[in-house]
């Protein structure tokens, strides 16, 4: 189903995870989903915004929402942190007119009335492509690949806003991976924290937390970890650089799985810190 969305790349997809953007463009392009990058978008403030100042966090998110609203398209944010901030602020200004007025004063002359919806990559693939099409369309056999779905913290853990999937046991990405023809393993760390932005302020903490996630995936016999979140991907992919000496599994973005299913290769192979070669040899022509 053809669709057009306002695209909010966020800082990661323009720097540390450029290959995620390329991968999304490739897959979305195939299914007729047009992404219109938001004109002059700015940083959502991530966790720093609300930690330093709650109102500033909302204002930073509101600015981008207003820009997307002006273009009259729903907003697509592939980064989980950006998605969380945009969605929470959008729903809060929708239900709280005082907050909406305050934010509109801060972002003047821009204005937002929360008229659009905020979507993540899983929702976009579900809503505009669907598991049936994804399953029928695959050209390569990925059945030799065992993977664990790693959603990360902030995609569905929302307190005063209803998340798009279960807060503690989301299954939407499991279904998409199943449609791609992979073996999806059950595991307890779907939402376990990778260490988030502590990588710079407390490296040992990220090492400890990301190590646990990697060890669990290896123990269960997985070949790769699949995530939609650029910060999760980054932290896990950095494990050898953070001091992990044991074996590490490649960490793929969700869209890269569909690249494998459709084209048998990934545009961003060389951007992975942990080499993905071991899984590429398991990809067979269907």
């Amino acid at each position: 189903m053809a669709a057009t969305l306002a695209y909010y790349p966020g800082c990661s997809l323009k720097s540390s995870s450029k290959f995620y953007e390329a991968s999304i463009q490739k897959i979305f392009g195939r299914y007729g989903i047009t992404l219109k990058e938001i004109e002059d978008w700015s940083c959502c403030g991530a966790s720093a915004g609300h930690t330093i100042d709650e109102r500033l966090g909302h204002a930073l998110a509101a600015r981008n929402l207003a820009l997307a609203e002006k273009a009259e398209y729903d907003l697509f944010a592939p980064c989980s942190a950006c998605y969380n901030r945009a969605k929470v602020t959008n729903e809060m200004i929708r239900s709280d007119s005082a907050l909406q007025a305050e934010m509109n004063r801060a972002i003047e002359p821009l204005q937002t009335s929360a008229a659009i919806e905020v979507k993540n990559i899983i929702e976009v693939l579900d809503d505009y492509v669907g598991v049936e099409v994804l399953a029928k369309d695959r050209k390569y056999d990925l059945s030799a690949l065992k993977v664990v779905p790693y959603y990360g913290c902030v995609l569905t853990r929302m307190m005063r806003v209803k998340p798009y999937d279960d807060k503690e046991n989301p299954e939407s990405m499991d279904r998409l991976l199943f449609a791609a023809g992979l073996e999806v393993l059950r595991w307890p760390f779907k939402m376990e924290c990778c260490g988030a932005s502590k990588t710079l302020t407390n490296k040992d903490m990220t090492l400890r937390l990301s190590n646990r996630i990697m060890d669990m995936a290896i123990t269960l016999g997985a070949d790769a970890i699949i995530t939609p979140c650029p910060l999760c991907q980054m932290n896990l992919d950095l494990l050898p650089a953070l001091g992990r000496t044991k074996e590490s599994l490649p960490v793929l973005f969700l869209s890269e799985v569909f690249e494998l299913a459709l084209y048998g290769k990934m545009l961003g192979t060389s951007s992975h810190m942990i080499g993905a070669d071991k899984i590429l040899i398991k990809v067979r022509e269907a």
Partner: protein
């Protein structure tokens, strides 16, 4: 001396019904940052209820928190514990009681960069933080690896409406 107004102050600032806590420990059981904490999340909530203002504000644990919100979504009494912690951080910094300024310092540099450029300028933010911490060479290997893989940019990302961004910061923060 226990500050009996502390619970009210915190409930007002967070909008959370903190007094509903019945110490079930679910927040503590799910916390991934527990090994880094000087005491656990359920105890923090107890301190807030009992008016142990100093213990809460001068704790290390409020700074070890990752804001993953596992505690919040698991709380049977619907208390947003991560928000309570986030709020305590702000009070602790305001009153000069923060025990660990690293997270705050980094977040501040992060926002300075956004205020200046509109988007995060990673290199500048990291270098400023490293200079403040005086551990310039600790992560150079990691940084070099990232650069070699094309995953760390050298240049800023400036938006066009920098003036609007500056105004946004000033208006939202009442500066």
């Amino acid at each position: 001396m226990n500050d009996l107004g502390f619970l009210k102050e915190m409930e007002r600032k967070t909008g959370e019904n903190i007094s509903a806590c019945y110490q079930c420990y679910r927040c503590t059981n799910g916390c991934p940052a527990l090994p880094e904490m000087d005491f656990s999340p359920h105890r923090l909530i107890r301190y807030v209820i009992l008016g142990e203002r100093e213990k809460a504000l001068t704790s290390k644990m409020i700074w070890s928190c990752l804001q993953c919100t596992t505690c919040s979504v698991r709380c049977p009494n619907d208390i947003d514990i991560a928000l309570v912690i986030d709020t305590l951080r702000k009070i602790a910094v305001k009153e000069g009681k923060a025990k660990d300024m690293d997270t705050w310092t980094f977040d501040k540099y992060f926002l300075d960069s956004v205020k200046k450029h509109g988007r995060l300028y990673e290199m500048e933010t990291i270098l400023k933080y490293k200079m403040a911490k005086k551990n310039f060479f600790e992560d150079t290997k990691m940084g070099m690896n990232m650069m070699l893989k094309g995953r760390m940019g050298l240049f800023p990302h400036n938006i066009k409406d920098k003036r609007g961004m500056k105004a946004l910061f000033e208006k939202a923060r009442g500066e």
